[in-house]
């Protein structure tokens, strides 16, 4: 057993059965772990007939062969499910300590099926796995519950849902040791629909490593690479991710007031520089991470992890709010209620525009930082307008007659970047399999930071190959599972060497990227099987039709169509965005029926 534990834990909450069985190692070779393995298992377990909030949907928690080894950032893990927000394939991953503990518990995969009659929580310990009554825990908020269940870093770790998940908000997260999250796409609602309040885990097994000498050398070299690179040794530890605020605003790509604008006059007030100067207590780190990008911040009212760049944007510029204390407090509250902060902030911004344009009768207005806390509470408990907002931006805007005001792709709320100022980012967001997401690849490096080289951010022709490489690479890293920040200093080819040393299976240069491409195509097949088509590979109309009003991006819209055509061709898909039979054979996906049928038409 090197890398993988070779074991699946399968719990049916309807019957109470708890089973373990071997992991299919050929599947592990092809999909590695994390997002890849989760997607492959989801393909078999959840078909198009399954309602996302029914007992037939599943939660598939996965780690990867590097998880828990101690290799730098080997702390992450994933959950895969069919998204109740988008109806697409979904995986969300998270860092911290739970993933390491999950691996040490001796499993690669935890599948949770069915629905418990009454609220329960799962406890996984070295000596046994058990289900416990959670009636008294139902209704508790995340921080208190996490403490009550005995969370202790490196010994016992807790995943749970808060009121948002219990009340089936489609933008609810599964919270990880209180302040981290498996956030996007509503996995917390799936957990709530199963009457599952928490998963507590303790482990003590060590991950086997095939070639110890080589592995130790690679760890040593990685440490040197991370220390020598100013991004991972200085930039992220010193200012965290929120330092991006001033830069993205400066170039006119900071979405503002529900994307009505692309520059925010209050950006400096919510920047990384201001956070560091006024509210930062210290930085912190996930398990086995030398980068230490986590912020611990404090206001007069709260102290907690974060906020990250995307969260600060979502409760800030997206809502026209320049009060950083209110944003930090909203972040802590959203975590305690169990929300995806990006979707929550984005949806509040959408509601503000709906309200200002009188589609809804509400006191929400851009800039009203004083209303953030009350609005989040209303959403978590589905009170008044909060009941509609808990459904996410698209369902909210559609209900009130203005779906065009929802800033979503495939139903998932957009992140901070206004793609009118980053054309490649527009293509990336439009084609992302789980909807608008900056973690399925990100063109920030190439289009703004000049890493590894600067390409014209307004250029349209030729962007698809960069986007595809980014997407495949992100899927590969998500299958190991490592933090993407590591890849700022360490090349993908190097990760393949680490994977080979740990597992004893030879992954040559390019093999790992091929794994990423295989995952991306399987996710695409999943969405096609669910009825999605090329029509959903698009962006909010505002970004396609309304020229950006501000700064150096002024006058630009996203020129999506030509990029999309080029993208399909470069992916080896037909003009409808369906993988060709040849591509499926090449990726060892030819058994997947949907793609074959579509291509025989």
């Amino acid at each position: 057993m090197n890398g993988w534990s070779e074991k699946i834990l399968d719990i049916d909450l309807t019957t109470g059965s708890i089973k373990t069985y071997p992991l299919d190692m050929e599947m592990a070779r092809l999909y590695v772990g994390g997002r890849g393995l989760g997607t492959r298992l989801l393909w078999d377990l959840v078909g198009p007939q399954v309602d996302t909030l029914s007992p037939e949907n599943v939660l598939i928690f996965t780690n990867g062969p590097l998880t828990g080894t101690g290799y730098q950032t080997s702390n992450r893990f994933s959950v895969s499910t069919k998204s109740p927000l988008t109806g697409t394939v979904l995986d969300a991953n998270s860092g911290g300590f739970w993933g390491m503990q999950f691996k040490k518990a001796g499993y690669d995969v935890l599948i949770v099926r069915g629905k418990a009659e009454k609220p329960v929580y799962i406890e996984i310990k070295p000596e046994q796995v058990s289900l416990h009554d959670a009636m008294e825990l139902w209704g508790m908020r995340v921080n208190a519950l996490t403490q009550k269940l005995g969370q202790e870093k490196n010994h016992r770790n807790v995943l749970c849902i808060g009121p948002a998940g219990e009340n089936l908000s489609r933008i609810a997260a599964i919270m990880n040791d209180g302040q981290r999250a498996l956030a996007r796409g509503g996995p917390g609602a799936v957990m709530g629909s199963k009457n599952l309040k928490a998963i507590v885990i303790e482990g003590k097994e060590k991950t086997g490593i095939a070639d110890q000498e080589k592995y130790k050398f690679l760890v040593y070299e990685t440490r040197k690479m991370l220390a020598a690179n100013p991004l991972t040794s200085q930039a992220l530890p010193e200012f965290g991710t929120v330092v991006m605020m001033n830069l993205v605003n400066n170039i006119g790509a900071l979405s503002t007031r529900n994307f009505l604008h692309n520059q925010f006059e209050g950006a400096e007030d919510i920047s990384g520089e201001t956070l560091t100067e006024k509210y930062l207590v210290k930085n912190d780190a996930c398990w086995a991470c030398p980068i230490r990008c986590t912020r611990i911040s404090k206001t007069d009212k709260v102290k907690g992890e974060g906020p990250e760049f995307q969260t600060t944007w979502a409760f800030g510029a997206q809502c026209g709010i320049a009060d950083l204390a209110a944003i930090i407090e909203a972040n802590c509250l959203a975590n305690d209620l169990g929300f995806d902060t990006i979707s929550a902030g984005n949806t509040i911004g959408c509601a503000m525009e709906l309200s200002e344009k009188r589609f809804i009768d509400s006191d929400l207005r851009f800039g009203r930082g004083d209303l953030l806390a009350r609005t989040l509470e209303d959403m978590a408990y589905r009170r008044d307008l909060g009941a509609d907002m808990a459904e996410g931006s698209l369902r909210l805007a559609t209900k009130y007659g203005a779906p065009e005001l929802s800033m979503t792709v495939k139903g998932l709320e957009m992140p901070a970047y206004d793609p009118r100022g980053m054309q490649g980012q527009g293509l990336l967001l439009a084609t992302s399999n789980r909807g608008a997401c900056h973690m399925r690849g990100n063109m920030l490096g190439l289009e703004v930071l000049g890493l590894p080289k600067m390409i014209d951010r307004f250029q349209v022709q030729g962007k698809s190959s960069y986007v595809i490489l980014n997407q495949n690479s992100s899927a590969a890293i998500d299958s190991l599972v490592l933090c993407k920040f590591t890849s700022m200093a360490v090349a993908d080819e190097y990760f393949a060497r680490v994977l080979s040393a740990v597992t004893g299976i030879k992954y040559a240069t390019g093999d790992l990227i091929r794994v990423g491409e295989r995952i991306w195509n399987l996710e695409r097949l999943y969405n096609l099987r669910e009825g999605f088509t090329n029509k959903e590979d698009t962006l909010p109309l505002r970004l396609l039709n309304e020229p950006a009003p501000d700064g150096a991006t002024r006058g630009w819209v996203v020129h999506l169509e030509p990029m999309l055509k080029e993208y399909y061709r470069a992916r080896g898909w037909n003009e409808l965005g369906i993988p060709t039979a040849q591509k499926l054979v090449e990726l060892e996906l030819d058994g997947m029926q949907t793609g074959e049928k579509e291509n025989q038409r």
């Binding site: 991004l231 991006m244 930071l449």
Partner: protein, 88 residues
Amino acid sequence: MPLIKFHANLRKITGMNEIAIQGASIRAVLERLVKDFPDLQQYLLEDGQLHPHVLLVLNGQPLDLENDLGTPVSGQDALAIFPPIAGG
């Protein structure tokens, strides 16, 4: 004189958020900056060249460090300087 805007730890090093500084091109402005603020050298330069992770944004447009340092600047221009930064 173009307006230079400092970001991240460059503010602490220079003790200011922005300054107007003389120089007819990006390269000339940078040379003058390093002369006036010698502590900037270790953050901006590597082996006498601009560090590849430094980011220069002229009037909202990121510059290509290999090709754009000769770009002329005047009093109408704003040059934002970012030390190596990263995020998601």
